[in-house]
C-alpha cells in the first residue's frame, strides 16, 4: 500500500496536533473541603446501640417503618441495611460475648449513612446534575424533580449509600442529606441532636477534626468530657477514652469525607474495607477531561478516520476500475 509524500505529511500533521493537545491538559484539580464544611463525628466506642438516631431520622425525614422477615420471624422496623426507607442505620459487629464491648472477641457498633464526600462519586456521575454538593456546607443532596432515575449514583457510591425506592410507583433516590431542611429552622442533624451519649455529634468539619485529635491524644482509660449534640453545645458527659484503632475513617478515604468515624475495632470488621486516597471521581473526570478537552482530540481522531476512509475508498475505486475488466473477463471465460 503506497502513501505519497503529500498524504504522509497530512497524516503526520494531524497526528502531531492530536498528540500535542493531550499532554497540555492537566489532570482535574483535586477537590478540597469547603471552608464552612459541616459534618458528623461518629465515635462507635460511645454508641450504646439504642438506635434513637434511627428513630429520629425516620421521624424528621418522614420515612415509613420497614418490615423485614429475618430467619422466618417477622420484625417491624428492623432494617438490615440502608434502603429507600432507611437512610441511617446502626449495625453491630458480633465477634463474641456481649459483655465485652469494642473488642474483637466482643461486639461493636457502627453507623452507616451518607459520608458527604469531599469529591463525591454520585455528584460526578449524575448525568442531569440532580445530585449536587453545596459549595458552602459541602452537603451532598439531590433534587427529586431533576432526577431521571438512572441510578448511576447507586452504582457509583463506594459506600452503597444512595438507595432507590424500587417498590414505589414513582420511585426516587433516598439518602441522608444531613437534615438540610432542618438547618433552615436553625436546627442541626436529628441523629446528632437525639444521641444520648454523644456518639454522633454535629459540627464544622474543622472542629470535628480538632475533637478527634484531642480524643486520640488522650491515653485509653483517661476520663474526659464528651460533647453531646453539636460541638460547643455545652452539653457534655464524662466517660473514659477507648482504645481507638490508629485510623480515622473518612480522613483520607477517597479524598476525604465530611462524616468521620472513630472505632476501637479495625474498620474492615465493620465492613469498611480499605479505599484509595484518591477519589474515583477525580480519576474518571481527569481521564474524560484529557480525552475530550476542547473536543480537539475527538475531532482530530474523526479527521484521521475520515482521511483513512476517504483514502481507502479512493484506493478501492482505483482498484475497482482496474479489476472491473478482470471480472468481466472471468465471466466471459465461464
Amino acid at each position: 500500500m503506497g502513501m505519497d509524500r503529500r498524504n504522509f505529511l497530512k497524516a503526520a500533521s494531524g497526528g502531531t496536533l492530536a498528540a500535542s493537545c493531550v499532554p497540555s491538559v492537566q489532570a482535574r484539580e483535586t477537590r478540597t473541603m469547603p471552608e464552612g464544611a459541616v459534618g458528623l463525628l461518629y465515635d462507635g466506642t460511645l454508641c450504646i446501640g439504642c438506635r434513637a438516631c434511627m428513630a429520629a431520622c425516620k421521624a424528621e425525614n418522614d420515612l415509613p417503618p420497614e418490615f423485614n422477615e429475618i430467619e422466618g420471624s417477622a420484625y417491624w422496623d428492623a432494617p438490615l441495611d440502608l434502603s429507600g426507607r432507611t437512610i441511617n442505620i446502626i449495625k453491630a459487629y458480633v465477634g463474641g460475648d456481649s459483655d465485652r464491648k469494642d473488642t474483637l472477641d466482643g461486639y461493636a457498633f457502627t453507623k452507616l449513612s451518607c459520608f458527604h464526600c469531599v469529591d463525591a462519586s454520585c455528584v460526578s456521575c449524575c448525568p442531569v446534575a440532580a445530585m449536587t454538593k453545596d459549595p458552602v456546607t459541602g452537603i451532598v443532596s439531590h433534587s427529586k424533580e431533576a432526577c431521571i432515575g438512572c441510578r448511576y449514583c447507586v452504582a457509583a457510591c463506594p459506600f452503597g449509600v444512595p438507595r432507590f425506592t424500587y417498590d414505589e410507583t414513582f420511585p426516587h433516590i433516598a439518602k441522608c442529606q444531613l437534615c438540610r431542611h432542618r438547618m433552615a429552622q436553625g436546627k442541626f442533624a436529628a441523629c446528632a441532636e437525639v444521641c444520648p451519649t454523644g456518639a454522633t455529634i454535629y459540627g464544622p468539619v474543622k472542629e470535628l477534626k480538632k475533637e478527634i485529635a484531642r480524643r486520640r491524644a488522650l491515653a485509653p482509660g483517661t476520663e474526659t468530657e464528651f460533647p453531646r449534640g453539636h460541638i460547643g453545645s455545652g452539653d457534655t458527659h464524662i466517660a473514659p477514652i477507648a482504645n481507638y484503632v490508629d485510623h480515622v475513617w473518612g480522613e483520607k478515604e477517597i479524598g476525604g469525607t465530611q462524616v468521620l468515624h472513630l472505632s476501637a475495632v479495625p474498620f474492615d470488621r465493620l465492613d469498611k474495607k480499605p479505599l484509595p486516597d484518591v477519589a474515583p471521581a477525580n480519576v474518571s473526570e481527569s481521564l474524560q477531561g484529557r480525552i475530550y478537552h476542547g473536543m480537539i482530540a475527538p475531532l482530530a481522531f474523526l479527521g484521521a478516520l475520515v482521511f483513512a476512509a476517504k483514502r481507502s475508498a479512493k484506493a478501492l475505486g482505483e482498484q475497482g476500475e482496474a479489476g472491473g475488466t478482470d471480472a468481466g473477463d472471468d465471466r466471459k471465460g465461464e
Partner: protein, 387 residues
C-alpha cells in the same frame, strides 16, 4: 408442688389476731403479697400463712457495723398494715442494737444466750461493712472487733443474710480510698451469704427471704453474687415504666426541661437502670403511691445495688447497657448476599447451552435434507445386500 389440704390451711386466725394484732383479711393479704414478691406459684400463700401462723419463731441476731442504720430505718418504714409488729413477731429478734431495750453487758449476754439456745438454727442478719485494716480496730462493739464479732456469730448460724450494700460488698465505707479497709460480710467470712444490696435495700426483699426460709426451710435461689434471683434477676431497665421512651429515643436533657416534665427516659441524666439489677420498678419503695421509686419520681437510678456503680461512677455519668445480649435484630456490618455463579456451575451451564446450541444447529442444517438422506441410508444396505 405446694399441695396443701384443707386441714393444713385451717389456721387459727383468732390466735393470729391476738398475737399479731392483724385481722384475718390483712394477714392473708400480707402472705399473698409476699408470695407474689417472690414469684411463688399459687398455693404458696397458704403455705406461708401456715408457717407464719405457727408459733415457731426463729431467733434472729442482727449485727450493726459500719453503717448509717438506713437499712433498719427502711425496714421499719415498710408500710403494710402493722408490718413492723408483724416482722418483730414472726421472728424472735434477740439482738438488734437499734431496737432492743437492753443495753451494755445485758444486751451482749442476751446475744450469747440466744446463740447458745439456738445453736445452728438462728438467722444472722448483718448490716454495715466490716473494717479489716489494722486488725479491724476501726469498729468495736463490746470490746470485740467487727471481724471477730461477725465470725463468732456466723459460726453457728443457720444462714447469714447481708442486708444493704455495705454488708453485701462494702458500700460507702469501701469507697476509694477506703481508709478502714472495709469489706462485705461474704468477703470477710469467705463463705457464700445471702446478699440483699441496696442503699437502702427494699424491706420486702428481706421479709420475703426470711419468710421463704421459714416456709420452705431453705434459702431462695441465689445468683452468682449471692443475691436472691426473685429480687435481683432483672435489670431495672427491663421493667422500667419509662422504657418505651428509651426505645423511641426520647430522653430528658436536664431536670425540669420539656422532656423531663413529659416523663421521658432519664438515661441522658445518668440513669444507671441499664446496668443495675433490682426489682425496684416492680415492687416500688415506701408504699406511698404507684410511682414511689427514684425513677418514678423523676430522678435517675444511681445503681445503689451494684458494686462498681454507686459511689464509684458519678451520678450523671452514663450507664453501660447490659441488655445488648448478642443483638437479635441489629443488622450485621455486611449482610450475606448471593456470591454470583461459581466457575464449575458456569462451565456446566455453558456445556449444556453449547450442546443445546450445537444440537439445534445440526438439526437446522439437516432440515430439508433429512428425507433424501434417510432414503439413501435405507437404500444403502439394500445395495450392499444386493451387491
Amino acid at each position: 408442688m405446694l399441695a396443701h389440704s384443707e386441714e393444713e390451711c385451717s389456721l387459727d386466725f383468732d390466735a393470729i389476731e391476738g398475737r399479731l394484732g392483724l385481722s384475718r383479711r390483712d394477714f392473708l393479704k400480707f402472705c399473698t403479697g409476699l408470695a407474689s414478691t417472690m414469684g411463688l406459684p399459687a398455693g404458696a400463700d397458704a403455705a406461708i400463712a401456715k408457717a407464719v401462723e405457727s408459733a415457731r419463731r426463729p431467733s434472729v441476731i442482727w449485727l450493726h457495723f459500719q453503717e448509717c442504720t438506713g437499712c433498719t430505718e427502711s425496714l421499719l418504714r415498710a408500710n403494710h398494715p402493722t408490718l413492723e409488729r408483724l416482722i418483730l413477731d414472726i421472728i424472735s429478734l434477740d439482738y438488734h442494737e437499734t431496737l432492743f431495750a437492753a443495753a451494755g453487758h445485758q444486751a451482749e449476754a442476751a446475744r450469747r444466750q440466744a446463740m447458745a439456745d439456738n445453736k445452728g438454727k438462728y438467722l444472722l442478719v448483718v448490716e454495715g461493712a466490716i473494717p479489716t485494716k489494722d486488725k479491724g480496730i476501726y469498729c468495736r462493739i463490746g470490746g470485740q472487733t467487727a471481724v471477730d464479732l461477725l465470725k463468732e456469730c456466723a459460726t453457728d448460724a443457720a444462714a447469714v443474710v447481708a442486708i444493704g450494700s455495705c454488708a453485701s460488698w462494702g458500700g460507702v465505707p469501701s469507697t476509694k480510698p477506703n481508709p478502714t479497709g472495709s469489706e462485705g460480710a461474704g468477703e470477710v467470712l469467705g463463705a457464700k451469704v445471702v446478699n440483699l444490696p441496696g442503699c437502702p435495700p427494699n424491706p420486702y426483699n428481706l421479709i420475703s427471704t426470711v419468710v421463704h426460709y421459714l416456709t420452705f426451710n431453705k434459702l431462695p435461689e441465689l445468683d452468682a453474687k449471692g443475691r436472691p434471683k426473685f429480687a435481683y434477676g432483672r435489670l431495672i431497665h427491663e421493667n422500667c415504666e419509662r422504657r418505651a421512651h428509651f426505645d423511641a429515643g426520647r430522653f430528658a436533657g436536664e431536670f425540669g426541661d420539656e422532656g423531663h416534665r413529659q416523663g421521658w427516659c432519664l438515661y441522658k441524666l445518668g440513669c444507671k437502670g441499664p446496668e443495675t439489677h433490682a426489682n425496684c420498678p416492680a415492687v416500688l419503695f415506701g408504699d406511698v403511691s404507684n410511682a414511689s421509686w427514684p425513677v418514678g419520681t423523676g430522678h435517675p437510678c444511681i445503681g445503689c445495688t451494684e458494686k462498681g456503680i454507686v459511689f464509684t461512677k458519678p451520678i450523671h455519668a452514663l450507664a453501660e447497657l447490659k441488655t445488648v445480649t448478642p443483638p437479635i435484630f441489629f443488622a450485621r456490618p455486611a449482610e450475606e448476599r448471593g456470591t454470583g455463579v461459581t466457575f464449575a456451575a458456569a462451565a456446566a451451564l455453558a456445556a449444556i447451552a453449547g450442546a443445546a446450541a450445537g444440537g439445534t444447529a445440526m438439526l437446522a442444517r439437516n432440515l430439508g435434507k433429512s428425507v433424501p438422506e434417510a432414503k439413501a441410508d435405507v437404500a444403502a444396505p439394500d445395495e450392499q445386500r444386493g451387491g
